[in-house]
């Protein structure tokens, strides 16, 4: 019993210590964002790798998610003779929930893992030590620009996901299942308010922060052994997914 308690105590201490390190890492990265000189070229470079390079996977997933929603929504709404609400249901679900969350998942899988692997490789090949030895702060050089890029790219990708998803559901609902085009868009127009767009935007910005923060942290603290990079990559993806869902619940409950 005592050994179990001591083990629990050790885990708790390790967990709190890790959390503390993660928050200090984030604070340090955010402070370096505002310290001159600004690394604009690095921010643009990372917007390309987070945003442009994830575009195809976000469009594909948005399109098919919208198509599935068109199918599922139609068959559920038909039971209540409410097919005309399809546009409204699809738009609200995508804008408030699925758009931000699924595009965050796509970016985590496509770019977050690569981010952790790249920084992790830099750690084990002493490239991060090389930056320190050149009196260049690696957090300012490697982490802060990625966080800013995540904050900018994530809402844009989410907006694209939402639009493509709405069009995918339109193709199925209107083109295939016979919902009227007018009711699809008018339902959407009547039910979607600015707050829905704002909530989705707020979620996507915070997910951008969460993904870049966790993936950079895991890469930065890669252990110097053969499995170090693969473990950092896996942990960064899993933790990002979990944190996105936890934060999504928290934000939804506050902003509902």
């Amino acid at each position: 019993m005592i050994s179990l308690l001591s083990q629990l105590g050790r885990w708790s201490l390790e967990w709190f210590s890790e959390m503390g390190k993660m928050f200090l890492f984030l604070i340090s990265a955010l402070v370096w964002v505002f310290r001159p000189p600004a690394k604009i070229y690095l921010i643009v470079q990372h917007i390309k790798s987070i945003g442009v390079d994830s575009l195809l996977v976000v469009i594909m997933s948005g399109f098919f998610t919208g198509m599935v929603m068109g199918l599922q929504g139609y068959y559920s709404l038909k039971k209540f003779n409410a097919e005309s609400w399809l546009g409204s249901v699809v738009a609200l679900t995508l804008l408030r929930e699925l758009g931000p969350v699924l595009s965050a998942f796509m970016v985590t899988g496509r770019t977050g893992s690569a981010m952790a692997a790249e920084i992790g490789t830099m750690r084990i090949t002493e490239q991060i030590d090389a930056l320190y030895s050149m009196a260049i702060n690696p957090i300012k050089y490697l982490v802060s620009p990625r966080i800013v890029a995540g904050l900018i790219a994530m809402p844009l990708l989410t907006a694209i996901f939402d639009v493509v998803g709405i069009y995918g559901a339109y193709l199925i609902g209107v083109g295939l299942l016979g919902v009227s085009s007018g009711s699809y868009f008018s339902g959407m127009e009547n039910s979607v308010v600015f707050r829905d767009v704002y909530v989705g935007f707020l979620k996507s910005v915070s997910f951008g922060l969460i993904i870049t923060w966790i993936c950079c942290y895991k890469g930065f603290n890669t252990s110097p052994m053969a499995t170090g990079v693969s473990r950092a990559t896996t942990e960064s993806v899993v933790l990002s997914f979990i944190m996105v869902l936890v934060w999504d619940y928290f934000l939804t409950s506050v902003l509902l």
Partner: protein, 248 residues
């Protein structure tokens, strides 16, 4: 002069350095030898505060660097150049950009002046015409040369070499040693080399120190070190398996 005083360092409860005392003479090349995993690289990384001691001091020209704030530490680090074991070139950049990197980040030099200086260093290390290549496209020896060019680009007073010939064939290893001697003659830096490359490394060293069991077992000018009667030193430099050093 760099003074290391009673330096202790542990990792996860395992004490690697157990009170290292070592003086490194200005303008000379000092080589630290010792068995694999004995803590040579750990010791080297304390010299420019890449690692901080648990106890003890590292004093660079009278300044104790272990407790410095970031600004003052950066000033000290500007005086150092480091050639890492795997060269540690940033693999997203070409060799030219790697060498130019410290100048672009830490000086206000215009691109024309940077180009002139970078091309000069690239020429000095024998990589003329290779600047456009990425680290992944060149051999291990070329990476080390590029790493040395980057280490020397800020005209450092002290250059640290972490196993500069590891992973190279004997000819390439010798060429790197010759390059270190040539650069030392040109720039007059204080050199600290960590190496296994025995006996070749003795030909370029003014002083040799041996790290064993977490302390400096022996240090002296190269000739005196080689003539030492210390059985630990003699066993190690002769590469004998029988003697006071336990070989697994």
């Amino acid at each position: 002069m760099i003074q290391i005083v009673k330096l202790h360092k542990s990792f996860a409860g395992h004490e690697v350095l157990k009170g290292v005392n070592l003086n490194i003479e200005t303008g000379k090349i000092t080589t630290i030898i010792g068995g694999s995993g004995c803590g040579k690289t750990v010791l080297l990384k304390h010299l420019n505060a890449l690692l901080l001691p648990d106890h003890g001091q590292v004093i660079v020209d009278g300044v104790e660097i272990s407790n410095l704030g970031q600004k003052n530490l950066n000033k000290i680090r500007h005086r150092f150049g480091v050639l890492f074991q795997g060269a540690a070139l940033l693999d997203s950049m070409t060799i030219y950009d790697n060498v130019a990197f410290p100048l672009r980040e830490k000086t206000g030099m215009d691109e024309g002046a940077i180009r002139k200086k970078v091309e000069e260093r690239i020429y000095q290390v024998g990589l003329e015409g290779m600047g456009y290549k990425f680290p992944a496209e060149v051999s291990g020896g070329m990476k080390k040369r590029a790493g040395l060019a980057r280490a020397l680009i800020m005209d450092p007073e002290i250059v640290l070499f972490d196993e500069p010939t590891t992973g190279l064939d004997p000819l390439l290893g010798k060429s790197i040693h010759e390059l270190i001697v040539k650069m030392h003659a040109t720039f007059g830096f204080t050199g600290v080399i960590v190496s296994h490359d025995i006996p070749e490394v003795f030909t370029i060293s003014d002083f040799v120190a041996m790290l064993s069991n977490g302390v400096i077992e022996e240090i002296g000018p190269t000739e005196e070190f080689l003539a030492s009667h210390n059985p630990v030193v003699q066993q190690f430099i002769k590469g004998e398996t029988q003697g006071p050093i336990r070989v697994l």
